[in-house]
């Protein structure tokens, strides 16, 4: 009698564990699918803010179309791949959903007015994470310097060894730049300052040159 009850309990518990496991896997799968679903290019350009502005500009760049047909979609550059940074970025993106509803940047005029702010925000993010999303594909260790132009070789070696990161030089490669103050004519009040656009290289005390 007693043993029978025990056996029944044991069955119930093991069934519960299996059910919890299956449910857990299912939930995780759904969660992950939803995350991936919002990482698609189609999802990003489903709002006018993206489709009429940044997407259109990006279509003229090498990250959209190139000789070998490898495309970096929005999320490849703007959403981290690692779990925790991805979660943080996705949570921050809830603010972007809110602004999509408000229509804060849904016309080229509105977008251009906000462009300096938005661009600087993204530059700061990339600078802070050492251009992690660039490096998902562009690994400096794999650079074939013999295939690069002579100007690129020099700048890459110098920049990378002095602790510069991709975004320090490669701004405005996938989207249009905001106005940058280059000291010519009448500067726009919203123009990006030269210090922000070309951040100074902190001199590292490193091994002497060979």
């Amino acid at each position: 009698m007693n043993g029978n009850r025990f056996r029944r309990w044991r069955h119930a518990i093991s069934a519960g564990i299996i059910l919890a496991f299956v449910l857990g896997v299912a939930c995780l799968a759904i969660f992950n699918t939803a995350l991936e679903w919002t990482n698609r290019e189609d999802f990003c350009i489903s709002c006018h803010a993206m489709q009429d502005n940044v997407y259109r500009e990006y279509q003229n760049t090498i990250h959209y179309a190139n000789r070998v047909g490898v495309r970096a979609v929005c999320a490849d550059c703007h959403v981290p791949k690692a779990f925790l940074p991805k979660m943080i970025r996705k949570l921050q993106a809830s603010g972007e959903v809110w602004h999509a509803v408000l229509g804060s940047v849904d016309t080229p005029e509105k977008f251009n007015a906000k462009r300096p702010l938005l661009a600087q925000r993204e530059w700061r993010r990339m600078k802070a994470n050492d251009s992690r999303e660039c490096r998902n594909c562009h690994d400096a260790v794999s650079f074939d310097y013999s295939a690069q132009g002579y100007r690129a070789v020099e700048r890459h070696m110098e920049g990378l060894s002095s602790g510069q990161t991709c975004i320090d030089c490669h701004k405005g490669i996938a989207h249009k730049l905001p106005p940058v103050d280059q000291g010519i004519g009448i500067a726009s009040p919203a123009a990006i300052t030269p210090e922000v656009f070309r951040p100074a290289v902190e001199k590292k005390t490193e091994a002497p040159e060979d």
Partner: protein, 154 residues
């Protein structure tokens, strides 16, 4: 009835063809909504030369062929924006940056405004670098000629 149909069909075809030709010509004349900053229309039909698609010769700048020739650009300029917002050329060739970038600096003659006034930096009228300075390519003369470099430039 049959004969009338037979003549009406080609006539309609011809009319349709003429109409499509007319609209396509009109579309060519139209600037497509493009305008300069001062509101003048921009013609969309521009002559295209094959040499523009050639790869720039990335070497020391080629010698100049005539006096006052603007020096050639000795590198590719693909995807270098020269827009209202930003001038990529000046990102390296400005007096502020040329030392860091080991680039040729803009001639000081380019600091002069249209009225002769000396400005503290490149004059806005010299902003569009590529109007005069073009990437050097292996371009053959369009018309065979006997032109010689001036003796002092040989």
């Amino acid at each position: 009835m049959k004969i009338r149909l037979l003549t009406a069909f080609p006539a309609a075809m011809l009319a349709g063809l003429l109409l499509s030709c007319a609209t396509s010509i009109a579309a060519n004349d139209d600037s497509g909504g493009l305008a300069t900053l001062r509101g003048a229309p921009i013609p969309t039909s521009t002559s295209s030369g094959g040499d523009a698609l050639k790869k720039a010769i990335e070497s020391a700048p080629l010698d100049r062929d005539f006096t006052q020739q603007p020096p050639l650009v000795s590198h590719a300029v693909d995807d270098y924006p020269v827009t209202r917002n930003f001038n990529k050329c000046l990102d390296c060739h400005s007096w502020e940056n040329y030392r860091k970038e080991k680039a040729t600096k803009v001639s000081q003659s380019h600091f002069q405004a249209a009225d002769g006034q000396e400005l503290p930096n490149v004059s806005p009228r010299r902003y569009f670098c590529l109007q005069c300075h073009v990437p050097q390519v292996d371009a053959r003369p369009l018309i065979a000629n006997t032109y010689q470099r001036p003796t002092g430039a040989r």
